[in-house]
Amino acid sequence: MTQPHEHAEHAHPSNRTYILVAAILGVITAVEVGVFYLDALKPVLVPILLALSAAKFTMVVGFFMHLKFDSKLYRALFVGPLVVAIAVMMAMFLLYGVFSA
């Protein structure tokens, strides 16, 4: 049987960290919209926007949802289905040529 302390949850971040994360999220959103309007970046728009979106996603899940600090079991419960969902999405996108010119 798993011992309770094995999955001990760590202390959550401070309010200052939360505000810093929110500020970074705001800046990334502004960068996303800026990139969207820059014609020079059109050829690489998709990878840039997906990378920025993934960064925001990771920050919210890691800091605001505390997945970075909490038990690995929660991480498994979230990341497992997420990986399956992303794999199915990628397969369908490839099958239907979603990102092909």
């Binding site: 049987m1 798993t2 011992q3 309770p4 302390h5 094995e6 999955h7 001990a8 949850e9 959550h12 309010n15 939360y18 505000i19 994360v21 929110a22 999220l25 705001g26 959103t29 996303e32 919209v33 969207f36 728009l45 998709v46 926007l49 997906l50 920025l52 979106s53 925001k56 996603f57 919210v60 899940v61 800091f63 605001f64 949802m65 038990s71 079991l73 929660y74 419960l77 979230f78 497992g80 289905p81 997420l82 399956v84 969902a85 992303i86 199915v88 999405m89 369908m92 996108f93 239907y96 979603v98």
Partner: protein, 197 residues
């Protein structure tokens, strides 16, 4: 065995983790699959509408950027609410919870405005593939936001009646997990629907 011991055993699983939190993470995992399937539908149908209006004719990027920012900031309010409740500062816990719900309502207001504008411009569920998949995807997300707002307001009400205390901070944490997930979904939708037009 005392009633307190029995209650403690009921609330925690063999892993030593709270049952309700495990359940919420499992639910969020299942929600990833739900939104994943809806995103697939939207992306596969993207650019395949035979009649207008088309996304480029309707999508208002500056407007939706503001509502996206509002939803992001609601997540900040939510973590501040949890932090306050965990400290036992119920006054600020209540204020931050109310602010989170308020920003959620502002986001929903923006979505209602956007939907009504699109319908006025001739885009409905039946108009074309864009209309059907757009309203299905963003409507499902909006319904989740509405559930979150009701949940948060019920917590504010509980706090107002003195039934939400530092002892049940986990209740706020679980509501927070749901709220942040709704935010995370929007982060993805904002990019896929509005920026990758």
């Amino acid at each position: 065995m005392s009633q307190t011991d029995a209650a403690a055993m009921e609330m925690h699983s063999a892993t030593g983790l709270p049952n309700r939190k495990i359940l919420m993470w499992a639910f969020i995992g299942s929600e990833c699959m739900l939104f994943g399937s809806l995103i697939i539908v939207y992306m596969v149908y993207r650019g395949k509408s035979l009649v207008g209006p088309y996304p480029a004719d309707l999508l208002n990027i500056p407007f939706i950027t503001v509502t996206t920012f509002v939803l992001l900031m609601s997540s900040l309010m939510m973590v501040l609410a949890l932090s306050a409740v965990q400290r036992g500062d119920m006054k600020w816990g209540k204020i931050w919870l109310f602010m989170t719900a308020l920003l959620g309502m502002v986001f929903l207001g923006g979505q209602v405005y956007e939907f009504s504008h699109f319908v006025h411009e001739g885009l409905t569920l039946k108009t074309n593939l864009f209309g059907g998949s757009f309203f299905l995807l963003t409507g499902t997300h909006g319904a989740h936001v509405a559930v979150g707002v009701i949940w948060l307001m019920s917590l504010v009400f509980m706090a107002q009646r003195g039934r939400l205390t530092q002892a049940n901070a986990e209740t706020v944490e679980i509501a927070g997990l749901y709220w942040h997930f709704v935010d995370v979904v929007w982060i993805v939708l904002f990019t896929l629907i509005y920026l990758l037009v």
